[in-house]
Structure formats: structure tokens, C-alpha cells
């Protein structure tokens, strides 16, 4: 029972999506069914968010209570979760859900701090704390790429040498300074690189991988739909 029902649900959901693809949404319900199923997915995801909050609080809360190593950071994590979430969920005015009771206790001028609009606590935290941190993490890629290139790009074999040379040429071509340098050897060199490397070898390889991956995904989907692959639900 624990396996059969999920397999049936998986089969039906997948089947509806596949069949829906072949019917016109303007003329039949089955054509619109895939939109309906996708909306269900969104709704179910919303509910599981509670599970996520519960997990993050339990794992970090336990570390704080037990005073494990680095517990202040875990405490900061828990505080951050609520500092972002609670002000965003509070009513912004008396017309919001629960707003009348809320603003019978607190001054109405506080309304601009709540919700997710411009000037709210959520907005401020997002713009001045979260966003710069995200940008910093992404910017760190430049450092990591340099370090990985230094360590990994070795001309160990003929194909590794080819890869290395191609990478160097493309890196030169993709920046104005390098492109100016390449033009010293011939005005058409950047155009050749675009034609042969990016639109030639690159496109061929990308397509090969994309087609292979798409077939793999289709095969995996079929195995899931037919209940042959059940490991993802803990069986098999």
C-alpha cells in the first residue's frame, strides 16, 4: 500500500501531463489539465515550506541549546529566519487580514514597516543585507575560477592541451583587450573564433550533451511513471 498508492499517483500525474500536451486547451479540459496539475504543485510546495522552517529551527535550535561549537552562528540563523519572515507576514493596514485587531494595539503608522513593499523591514533587509551577501558570494566565483584554472588546466595529454589552448584563445577573445591583441595577428581572427569555436565545436558539443541528457531524462521519467524506478520514494 505504501508503495502502490504513490506509484499510481505518479503514473496518473505524469500521464495527465503527457496527454494534455496533445490536446488543445481552448477546446478541451484535458488540454488545460497540465496547467491545473502545475498549480497543484505550487500549492503543495507552499505547504511544505512549514516543514523547512521546522527543520531549520530544530537543527540549529538544538545546537544552540546544547552550546555546540559555533552555536552563536546557529542562533543568528534562527533569528534571521524570523526577522525576515515575521515583519513580511504582518498586516500592512487595517484593511489587511487581521489588520483591525493588530492596529487597535499598535499605531497605524507602523504599517509601512510590514509586508514586502518598498520601505518595509523585509525590503530593507533584502536590499541592504541579503542582496549584498548574494552578490559577494557570486563575485567569489572569479577567485575560485582563477584558482581552479591554475590547478586543473594542465597540458597532461594531447586532448588536455587542445582544451587548454582553446580556453586561452576564448578567454582572450571575450574581452576587448584580448580581442585587440588577437587582431594584431589578423583582423578576421575574432570572427573565425566566433564561427568555428563558439558556433562550431561548442554548438556541436552542447547539442550532443543536451540530446543525450534529454533522452536520459525521458527514460528516467518513463521509469518513474511506470513504477520501475522507485528509489526516489525510498523503495527498490
Amino acid at each position: 500500500m505504501r508503495t502502490t498508492v504513490p506509484v499510481i499517483v505518479a503514473f496518473l500525474s505524469g500521464f495527465v501531463m503527457v496527454v494534455s500536451f496533445f490536446f488543445n486547451p481552448d477546446r478541451t479540459f484535458i488540454g488545460r489539465a497540465q496547467d491545473v496539475v502545475l498549480q497543484w504543485v505550487t500549492i503543495v510546495s507552499g505547504f511544505t515550506l512549514v516543514l523547512g522552517v521546522f527543520s531549520i529551527v530544530r537543527v540549529n535550535g538544538r545546537a544552540v541549546v546544547r552550546r555546540t561549537e559555533d552555536w552563536p552562528f546557529k542562533l543568528a540563523t534562527v533569528i534571521s529566519v524570523f526577522a525576515m519572515a515575521i515583519p513580511a507576514m504582518l498586516p500592512v493596514s487595517t484593511t489587511s487580514v487581521g489588520g483591525k485587531i493588530f492596529y487597535s494595539i499598535l499605531p497605524q503608522s507602523w504599517g509601512s514597516w510590514f509586508g514586502t513593499g518598498t520601505g518595509s523591514i523585509y525590503d530593507w533587509l533584502f536590499n541592504f543585507v541579503d542582496s549584498p551577501m548574494m552578490e559577494t558570494m557570486f563575485a567569489m566565483l572569479a577567485f575560485y575560477i582563477a584558482s581552479a584554472a591554475y590547478r586543473a588546466f594542465r597540458a597532461r595529454s594531447a586532448d588536455a592541451t587542445l582544451l587548454l589552448l582553446t580556453a586561452v584563445i576564448v578567454m582572450l577573445w571575450r574581452v576587448p583587450m584580448g580581442e585587440a591583441f588577437l587582431r594584431l595577428f589578423g583582423d578576421s581572427i575574432p570572427d573565425y573564433l566566433n564561427t568555428f569555436i563558439m558556433n562550431g565545436f561548442n554548438v556541436a558539443v552542447q547539442r550532443g550533451i543536451i540530446i543525450g541528457a534529454a533522452l536520459g531524462a525521458a527514460s528516467m521519467s518513463l521509469r518513474v511513471m511506470l513504477g520501475i524506478e522507485r528509489t526516489y520514494m525510498g523503495k527498490g
Binding site: 527543520s55 551577501m133 558539443v205 550533451i209 541528457a213 533522452l215 527514460s219 520501475i228 524506478e229
Partner: protein, 400 residues
Amino acid sequence: MTDPLFYVFYSVTHYSLNSSGKTFLLALGFCLYFSFFSFAQSPDSLNQHPPILTLIGDDTLDIDEGDTLIIAVSSIDLDGTIPLLTAENLMDSAAFIDSLNGQGCLVFAPGFEQEGNYEILLIASDGVTADSVTVAITVNDITVFRTSRIAVLVFMLIFSGAVLLYTNWAKKGKTLFVRRIPGIDAVEEAVGRATEMGKPVLFIPGISDIDDIETIAGLAILGRVARITAQYDTPLYVPVRYPMILAAGQEVVEQAYLEVGRHDAYDKDTVRYVAGEQFAFTATVNGMMMRDKPAANIYMGAFFAESLLLAETGNAAGSIQIAGTARPEQLPFFIAACDYTLMGEELYAASSYLSHEPLLLGGLKGQDFVKVILVAVIILGVILMSFDIGGWFKHLFVVP
């Protein structure tokens, strides 16, 4: 369009474009309404010039059955008379309205049985001379079944047939050869090494949600890995980015421990929700890598910009690293920083390969069979197109 009344009329009627019958009537109503408010001008000079009729927009249009099309026309007569506008060859569900101010509109809302090509003649006449414009309209058939997608159906049937056929052969005991995939073999080695070192294994099932098939593949591999860690009693950490993966991952790991008879060793926090934001997730996992120094980091699923951040940190922490993703843009990063990388379809094959179950391997063989067909089709296409005789062949693969 310079007449303000006409502008209002045009705005209102255009608003109803692509709507169904109700808006057709609304549009018709507005046309009639303005026809009564726009008759102020009158002819006052001799009839020396023919009227000039101008179509506002293209003269070749196409529309789907069930939609509404509105075509506006404008006419002038240098003699000062207001031309009378009419339309010929009107089909069902079409009406032409002369606003009696030199402007008019054609409203057409084809039903579901009106597929075809139509030509309508729009005429402006001053009673003596006339000008005309022909509008060609193609009404596209909107069928219940999308026949234009039949190629996909055929492909799907061939694909499903091949997978089922090979699965059936495998079920009957036929031995199927599947080539060695070193990256997958390394998974077992890596877990063994972690056990020897007494260090944990870190597994990340990608950073996409459960609706991504790569995540499902990652979870399937997680099931296999969890079985090995349960047998060896090796700690396993599975940080996840989405609550749905948390629920599914916990189920997968718990079941794996249960099946090898080690349910007592299962910790509910093996799979833990870390953060919904991509880089907050990455920062937390990087912290785990540097603090706990896992012996093995296994990345299986959909990865994006964080791939190199994770893999480089894992490398700095001295872990053995195995990655698998179907995202071609992230493969170079994993290849540079990991010991083994599963590329594209290898990710989807990993779970079947690790299971050693003939039934699952049958699916892989079916997939390979279809790939051979596709390669043949591509070669044929290249040959036909090279000789400029492949138009029909290319058209077979156009799926609107």
C-alpha cells in the same frame, strides 16, 4: 486614426481582440454606436477625384478559430465627399460596419468549423468612382487533438516501446551489457574511504525543486548511497534547498536504513533544510565542508552558479569529490574541481547502474537504442539538407 472618436473606437475594439463571441458582439455594438455619432461631414464639391481607401495594418492576416479579428479602414475623397464603405465576399461570423465618416471596420470571429483561406474585398465609393483593397485572411484550424504534434507522439511511442521491450527482455533473464562508468563505480569507493577514515559523506541532490527530473535522479542515487552508508555505519549529511526535497529525502534515507536493517542508526536530521536562497545554501554547505571535512562529497542533480563554489571548497577541504549533472554549462566547473564527473545522461543512468538490477538496466538499453535511431536521423537530415532537398524532412520535426 487622427479622428479622436475613431481612436476611442479603435481602442475599445482592439481591447476585445482575441476574445470570444461575447466581445465580438461588444465590438459590433461599438462600431454601430460610432456610426451614429460620426455623420457630421457632408459632400460639398464636384466629383472629380476617386476616393482613396487605406487599410490600417497588414492586408494578409491569420487568426485561430475562436479568436476575434478587427480590421480598420480609412478613406478620403479629395472632392470633399464622404465615401461609402462596403465589403464583398463576407463569410459567416463576419460583419463590416461603415461609420459614415470615411472610416469603418471589419469584425470577424471565426467559429471552430471555419478553417480556411478567405479574401474580402473592401470598397470605398463616392457614387461615381471607387477604390478597393483585398484582405487575405487565413483561419487556422483549432482541432481538439493537436495534429501538428503527431511527430512527438510517434517519437514517444517508439521511445516507450524500446524501453519496455528491453525491460521485458531483462525481466526474462537476458543479459544486457552496460559499459563501465568510472564515476559511478567511484561512489562505492568513496563511501568505503569515508568509513575507513571515520568521516562523514556529504550528498547534495542538486539545488532544484522536486519538479526537476534531475532532482529525482539525485534522490534515486541518494537512496543507493544511503544504503551503503547504513551498511557501513558511516555518517551521512544531506543539506537541501527546498522543503519538498526535505520531505522526499528523509523518506528515501529512512527507507534505505530500514531496508538494510539499520533503522536504529537513522537520524532524522541526516537530511536537513538549509536555506531557500541559492548562495545562502552554498555558504552553509561550504561551512559544513570546512568544519566537518567530509571524506567524500557527492553532488548529483541540477546545479547552477554554485557548482564551482562548492567543488572548490570541497577540494580545499581535501575531500574525494564525485559530481553528476545534466547542465552542460556547469560541467566544466565540476570537471576542473572534482575527481569524477557524470555527464548528462550518465546522471540518469547512475541509479540503475548502482542497483545492478536487470529491470532498470533494461531502461538504459532502450534509451541507447533510441539514441542510435536519432543519430541515424541526424545523419540523414544533414545529408538531405546539404543537397538542399531536405525541406520536407525538416518539416517533420517542427512541433508548434
